[in-house]
């Protein structure tokens, strides 16, 4: 899937324009290869055009599917999820630096990475429909399922890299987390472990400027998050996370260090969550359209496409063909997921994976449940379409009618 680049990547170049209005990062330098207009900032093209075009395809595929999932959620066909809109370069550029032997440890927003690693769209949809079947792990894949408790997964990457070291395997681990997650103690603990044991972990922080409603500047001091790496004893790099080539270049080097016993790297991708935090969130409560507009002009897909077009490696016809191919794929996958859900999903499956072998008391509960479920439909769909403003955070709240329309009194019903 991922080939190593033909040439050694060129040295980091400092930023041209201010890229991150939410984080000033005064005086810090950021790795950047391509500007918003798609111009190479310095030197030779670091990667063959075909490779860049291939990664661009992955970015478009992820964005299109992400947008489609948002629609499905709005129609009530899947439940809550966290869109990756705007972060495709940070995700594809970093995961493309990994081989299938390297471990992929996501948080909850890495749709583009998961698709790149080969997760079938139907599985992503099944999970979104509230069916555990969607996160069933093929035993040979080195991918972990999404992790919602913020930051917790960082320690798993430490363990995975440690295991690779103990078993003498040439493989590293890449762990994804956000700017908000860097405030959690476990993330510090993980980086310290990796530093002191010289473990091959790439800590891939997508600094997308927001943790729900909390802006980056309220999360931590106004120094780059990547500077923390110095104290743990490994390199930290700030990279323009909307610049595919820059991310790919930095991560290729970091993953190579991870595989070859050189230890960990902290990569801070400066990017932007262009969409909602999750489908239950309403960004209008805490941020303005102006800021969103400013970041729209730095969009990672536009930038990569312009770069490729300028080099004669992409055009409108190819774009259209790609979109059609993705749409056809999505149609098949959505149908497959919806067929599965309609195929009388077994509610008793929830008893099957609590232990490797089911203890008798659980078997008894399963029998009891079977009796209780008989003749009833106890499996739920995603239900009603979403309405803005309700703030259910991650789900759907039952709403009492407005006061004047409410029943006469008491109303505990």
């Amino acid at each position: 899937m991922a080939k190593t680049p033909a040439k050694k990547p060129p040295a980091p170049v400092p930023p041209g324009a201010p890229v991150a209005p939410c984080s000033t990062y005064a005086g810090a330098s950021m790795v950047r290869f391509v500007d918003e207009a798609g111009n190479l900032l310095a030197g030779e093209a670091p990667f063959p055009d075909e490779r860049v075009a291939e990664l661009y395809r992955h970015m478009v595929r992820a964005r299109r599917f992400d947008a489609r999932m948002l629609k499905l959620q709005r129609q009530g066909r899947i439940g809550t999820f966290a869109p990756c809109f705007g972060q495709e370069a940070a995700q594809v550029g970093s995961i493309a630096a990994c081989t299938p032997k390297d471990w992929f440890v996501p948080s909850f927003r890495e749709l583009a990475c998961a698709l790149y690693r080969g997760a079938p769209m139907r599985n992503v949809l099944l999970y979104g429909m509230g069916l555990e079947e969607g996160s069933a792990a093929p035993p040979d894949a080195r991918d972990l399922p999404i992790s919602i408790p913020v930051g917790g997964q960082s320690s798993h990457a430490v363990g995975l890299a440690w295991a690779m070291k103990l078993r003498g395997e040439r493989a590293g681990a890449i762990v994804y987390f956000g700017d908000g997650a860097t405030s959690e103690g476990i993330v510090h603990e993980a980086m310290n472990f990796a530093g002191v044991m010289k473990l091959g972990v790439v800590f891939l922080c997508q600094n997308n400027q927001w943790a729900i409603s909390t802006p980056r500047v309220h999360q931590a001091s106004d120094r780059p998050l990547a500077e923390r790496a110095a104290a743990y004893g490994f390199p930290g790099v700030v990279v323009d996370g909307n610049d595919l080539l820059a991310v790919l270049s930095v991560c290729t080097e970091a993953m190579e260090r991870a595989r070859s016993g050189g230890g960990a790297t902290f990569v801070e991708c400066i990017t932007y969550r262009r969409g909602v935090h999750t489908t239950a969130d309403d960004p209008r409560v805490y941020r303005g359209e102006e800021e969103e507009k400013a970041w729209e002009s730095r969009d990672p897909l536009d930038r990569t496409r312009r770069y490729l077009e300028k080099r004669g490696a992409w055009d409108a016809a190819r774009e259209r063909a790609l979109e059609e191919a993705v749409d056809a794929e999505m149609q098949v996958e959505i149908q497959a997921a919806e067929d599965y859900r309609a195929s009388s999903v077994n509610p008793l499956e929830m008893f099957d994976y609590v232990y490797v072998s089911m203890p008798p008391y659980l078997k008894a509960q399963r029998d009891e449940a079977e009796e209780a479920f008989r003749g009833r439909n106890v499996v739920v769909g995603a239900s009603a379409p979403w309405v803005p403003g309700g703030a259910a955070a991650v789900g759907q709240l039952e709403e009492a009618p407005p006061e004047d329309a409410a029943a006469p009194k008491g109303g505990a019903r």
């Binding site: 408790p149 405030s183 409603s213 909390t214 039952e398 505990a412």
Partner: protein, 330 residues
């Protein structure tokens, strides 16, 4: 937020506002509690009203939110901290159990701990993984903690006021499925609802149903059905305080009815029903009067499933009704 018939979210918001008005030491901290007003909007408008020093958007760090609250309390403030979901309160357990719950004892009464830890809990809203669990037993088992769970706007308002005025650390679980589900009248500048006092919601002499939180509504529905179909008197008790629990309300009732069904959303093994049964067992006057085996309706002993299967997992009115009937006929 006009009028006095409000949802639980509005009732909690009012209780917070009135207590902040009343006592300048009361402050709020947590993730997204300020500008956003909390992901469920419980603290909506409070930062505008009381300022950024008293309603604080903290970094994303549950352990330090609680740990800092311990320090704030010792330093003379009365922090009310919000855990965005009770599932993430586990990150703060290392502060709640070893530190917050033990300070009073360790200092032989010298350091009180007026801290409230609020957390939305329970399931039933088709939410994501880890956003649905009922974890009251992790806290009920810790000596020194007060554990409360209201069952609607009125009790939420009164209990939160009591929690904020308490000199003891309180874990305050808010059943999220009923945040906006129905309205009740609440007073303006009303009184706290006493900690440690259960409420008998429906009177009856044939069977006692003990429950709390979001299950209260379902138990009342089931009780009505049973009463309608059999004419039996089903007594429904809402515990409200899990620790220190009101034993008399339950003992008096079960002594009278001789039958008891406990209903909770948390998994069966290690659930609070077991504690209630043990207490009944320890009271000779109640135990020897039992006319049916004690029974419980709880979630199954499996991890909270993703939402497609959550209706199968959670106790529902049908299951509760069936158990009440079995107990009546035993």
């Amino acid at each position: 937020m006009s009028g006095n018939s409000v949802t639980m979210v509005e009732a909690l918001n009012r209780a917070l506002a009135e207590e902040m008005e009343r006592d300048p030491r009361v402050m709020i901290l947590g993730e997204d509690v300020g500008v956003d007003g909390g992901v469920f909007r419980v603290t909506k408008g409070l930062q505008d009203r009381f300022g950024k020093d008293r309603v604080v958007d903290s970094p994303l760090a549950e352990a330090c939110i609680v740990g800092a609250s311990v320090g704030l309390a010792i330093g003379g403030m009365r922090p009310v901290c919000e855990m965005q979901f009770s599932g993430f309160m586990n990150f703060a357990y290392g502060q709640i159990q070893p530190h917050m719950s033990r300070f009073l004892g360790r200092t032989r009464g010298g350091r009180r701990m007026p801290v409230v830890v609020r957390a939305p809990s329970g399931g039933g809203i088709r939410a994501l993984e880890h956003h649905c669990e009922s974890e009251e037993m992790s806290y009920v088992s810790v000596p020194g903690l007060v554990v409360l769970m209201p069952s609607g706007p009125r009790t939420a308002y009164g209990l939160l006021k009591a929690a904020i005025r308490s000199e003891e650390p309180v874990i305050f679980f808010e059943p999220k499925s009923i945040y906006r589900a129905f309205r009740e009248e609440i007073p303006v500048d009303g009184d706290p609802y006493p900690i440690g006092k259960a409420e008998v919601l429906v009177r009856g002499n044939d069977v006692t149903v003990v429950t709390w939180g979001a299950m209260v509504r379902k138990c009342r529905e089931a009780a009505e059905r049973v009463a309608a179909s059999t004419g039996a008197g089903v007594e429904v008790i809402d515990l409200l305080t899990l620790k220190p629990m009101d034993p008399e309300a339950v003992m008096e009732s079960v002594k009278r009815t001789g039958r008891c069904v406990v209903v909770h959303e948390a998994p069966r093994t290690g659930g609070f029903a077991g504690e209630i049964f043990a207490r009944i067992n320890e009271r000779e006057d109640v135990f020897y009067g039992l006319r049916a085996p004690l029974a419980r309706v709880a979630a199954y002993d499996v991890p909270y499933p993703l939402f497609a299967r959550e209706n199968a997992y959670l106790p529902d009115t049908d299951r509760i009704e069936a158990q009440i009937l079995r107990t009546l006929n035993a």
